[in-house]
């Protein structure tokens, strides 16, 4: 049986990849994908714990996260399209109208 720590390390690596991608990438689509990566890293640790402790709540939570992620993907992609239509770029550094 694969030890719990393996899952957790993988989950941490996935999450760290997501964070790094979020921070260094400029393309909004890539950033969006990084967010999904972080969510999946979290999901992995949820199911790992659920399996380890024989509890269903972790798995239930994963379904919640998936539902939210799906909704987020729908809304987020719509926003990205709207941003592109108005500003004709997907470079996040140029979408900074809220600055001082």
């Amino acid at each position: 049986m694969v030890p719990l720590s393996y899952y957790l390390v993988l989950s941490g690596i996935l999450f760290a990849c997501g964070v790094t991608g979020f921070l260094i990438k400029r393309n909004i689509i890539t950033i969006f994908m990084s967010i999904e990566l972080m969510l999946n890293g979290v999901n992995l640790s949820f199911v790992a714990f659920a399996a380890r402790w024989q509890q269903l709540s972790g798995q239930v939570f994963v379904f919640f996260v998936m539902v939210v992620a799906a909704a987020e993907a729908a809304v987020g992609l719509a926003i990205i399209i709207a941003v592109f239509r108005t500003r004709e770029t997907l470079n996040i550094d140029q979408v900074n109208l809220l600055k001082l």
Binding site: R26, I92, D93, N96, L97, L100
Partner: protein, 666 residues
């Protein structure tokens, strides 16, 4: 058994009048304003008369409580009103003289702007004065006390566009504050020792005490502090300086507030607190000395004044000194008697002076009057009644009360021949300066057309806002003459009841529960009881004082009628003395150097620049400045760059996780 008199209505009626005129008076026509003011003031007077009419059937002392005002622990103060012989006398004087002066003002102020404002203030004054007089505890009395100060301030500064009037109002208010401070501390002491401010409770807990003959105890302290308050309100040394300046107000105000009623509040308060004063002989001596000194001091200044109203102002201070002398020798009822007669003749003198000023077109300098006897006969005759009354000629009102005071000053256990001698000399001075005024105003030649270009003391500025500048000397309208006539009659007959009967009338107030010691004789139970050997003495003293008054009359007649060039020669030969008197002994200047300027300097440097600007402003401004600086730095975090936000979130999350790991590892 005792009927409900609705005493609370008496002060409240003028308040309603003040509210109506004050809130809506601007839209009223002048007759409406006058009608409202006269109605409510007259209603109060009518109620006072109604109460006086059923006086015989009343069981005094009569107290009516309207409700509890405040309650704090064991201490309570009620809205309750106190009717005894003393407050009945005050009630009648205040409402009666007040009502007459209201009538007079209707015509006197007719051409002035702010007519409704004037009557609103006047009614407001009546409200507070009646509260003061009818209050049944010191706290309610204090409210009235402060309120009349406020009304006085408003009315002195009635012509507030004139700097001198505004300054005089402030001076009166501030000088009164000093006195009120003493009064307030006295109240605190009373609460501390007796746990109440109610007259009945305080006096009944004071009664068991014997007189503090040896040493000075808290009763003396309370009495002295009360006297400080009385000195402020009643313009006694050293706080008298505001009253002469208060003449900047309209003349009816001077008559009502600064002669007949408000300034006598101090005398009333001392008389009301006689139970305390009788047990503090030291304080009584102080009262007598202050009264005597004030009487002669103000009288000497009065001799050299040329402004008709200022002469009367100093005369008022001097007469108030007599009242305090009476209180100080324990003859409280005589003080009140003089208060009453003084209200009549001094009110009359001021109103007549107002009529003179009105007649000569706003002029107040007596040197520019003269020869008015035939031109304004009504004013002349009424003012003559007042002048003879204040000078103490038999059988006018002033004779009886002043003579009674002088008699008491000599014979009462607290008395001394020094008080009597100074009082007698003051009576001479009073007679002299009053007749000086009388001769200068009504005899000789009319000086109004004289050229005064070389006149260095120009008082004309003081009368500038008067709107009476219509040509020719003329008699005042009948509305003004009516109160004059009534007050003239009162000045003549006001003393006829005699000091003995008056004393007897007030005796339930002043003789109930006198101390067991020698103080009992302080307010002689009755004059005949003093023994037959006092009887001729009083007659003799009366003859002496009338002779003195006659001497003053003669001197004034010689100096200001027969040989009008003499006063200037005398003034020239006693130049230094005359100058000192004419400059009012430089007391105002002395106070300016001793108190006013240092206070202004301290206020400017320490309180304004030091504390206000340096501490309070600096703290507030400093905290606001530092908050702005901090946020100025912090706002750079809000770059608008999504990735930098994400970075901050990451850093924050890391910090939280690190903290929790650290907590978990500990």
């Amino acid at each position: 058994m005792t009927p409900n008199l609705h005493l609370w209505l008496i002060p409240v009626l003028p308040l309603i009048g003040a509210a109506i005129n004050g809130l809506f008076g601007k839209r009223f026509s002048r007759p409406t304003v006058a009608a409202v003011a006269l109605t409510f003031c007259g209603a109060a007077f009518a109620m006072a008369l109604w109460i006086a009419a059923q006086f015989a059937s009343l069981s005094l002392l009569h107290i009516e409580t309207v409700g509890t005002w405040l309650r704090s622990g064991d201490f309570t103060a009620d809205f309750s009103f106190y009717l005894d012989q003393l407050s009945l006398v005050m009630l009648l004087v205040v409402t009666g003289v007040g009502f007459l002066i209201h009538i007079y003002s209707v015509s006197y102020m007719w051409e002035e702007g702010g007519y409704y404002r004037f009557f609103s203030y006047l009614n407001l004054f009546m409200f507070f004065m009646l509260t003061l007089v009818l209050a049944s505890n010191y706290l309610l009395m204090f409210i009235g006390w402060e309120g009349v100060g406020l009304a006085s301030y408003l009315l002195i500064g009635f012509w507030f566009t004139k700097d001198s009037a505004a300054a005089a109002g402030k001076k009166a208010f501030i000088v009164n504050r000093i006195g009120d401070f003493g009064f307030l501390i006295a109240l605190f002491l009373i609460i501390k020792h007796f746990g109440s401010l109610d007259f009945q409770q305080v006096f009944s807990s004071v009664r068991p005490y014997s007189a503090e003959t040896a040493g000075i105890g808290f009763l003396t302290a309370i009495a002295l502090l009360l006297m400080v308050g009385a000195a402020g309100k009643s313009a006694q040394i050293p706080l008298y300086v505001w009253l002469p300046d208060a003449m900047e107000g309209p003349t009816p105000v001077s008559a009502l507030i600064h002669a007949a009623t408000m300034v006598t509040a101090g005398v009333y308060m001392v008389a009301r607190s006689h139970v305390i004063f009788e047990r503090a002989p030291t304080a009584l001596t102080v009262v007598a000395i202050i009264g005597t000194l004030t009487a002669i001091f103000a009288a000497t200044i009065g001799m050299a004044q040329t402004d008709i109203k200022r002469v009367l102002a100093y005369s008022t201070i001097s007469q108030l000194g007599y009242m305090f002398l009476a209180c100080g020798v324990g003859a409280f009822s005589m003080g009140i008697f003089h208060l009453m007669t003084h209200a009549f003749f001094k009110g009359l003198l001021f109103l007549a002076a107002g009529s003179v000023i009105h007649a000569v077109g706003g002029e107040q300098d007596m040197r520019r009057m003269g020869g008015l006897r035939t031109k304004i006969p009504w004013t002349f005759w009424t003012m003559s009644a007042g002048t003879f009354a204040i000078a103490g000629f038999w059988p006018l009102a002033g004779f009886f009360s002043k003579d009674a005071i002088l008699f008491q000053a000599l014979t009462s256990p607290y008395g001394s021949w020094i008080y009597w001698a100074i009082g007698l000399f003051t009576a001479f001075l009073t007679s002299f300066y009053m007749f000086r005024q009388w001769f200068m105003t009504f005899f000789g030649e009319y000086g109004g057309d004289r050229d005064h270009a070389d006149d260095e003391h120009s008082w004309t500025g003081a009368s500038a806002p008067h709107g009476h500048g219509h040509g020719g000397v003329h008699e005042s309208p009948k509305v003004m003459l009516l109160p004059l006539a009534i007050l003239a009659v009162l000045s003549v007959v006001g003393g006829w009841m005699g000091s003995e009967r008056f004393d007897k009338f007030l005796s339930p107030v002043f003789h109930s529960g006198a101390t067991v010691s020698a103080v009992e004789k302080a307010t002689p139970p009755s004059f005949p009881a003093e023994g037959s050997k006092q009887e001729p003495s009083e007659t003799f003293l009366a003859i002496v004082s009338v002779a003195v008054a006659g001497f003053g009359f003669l001197l004034a007649w010689i100096l200001y009628h027969q040989r009008p060039e003499l006063p200037d020669q005398i003034a020239a030969s006693f130049h230094g003395l005359y100058h000192a008197i004419a400059s009012k002994y430089w007391i105002d200047e002395l106070y300016a150097v001793l108190f006013v300027k240092p206070l202004i300097a301290i206020s400017g440097i320490v309180f304004w620049r030091g504390i206000e600007q340096g501490v309070i402003d600096a703290t507030l401004d400093g905290s606001a400045d530092s908050a702005r600086e901090l946020s100025d730095n912090l706002r750079h975090m809000q770059s608008g760059n999504v990735r930098s936000y994400a970075g901050w979130i990451a850093i924050g999350a890391t910090a939280v996780i690190a903290y929790m790991v650290w907590v978990g590892m500990r």
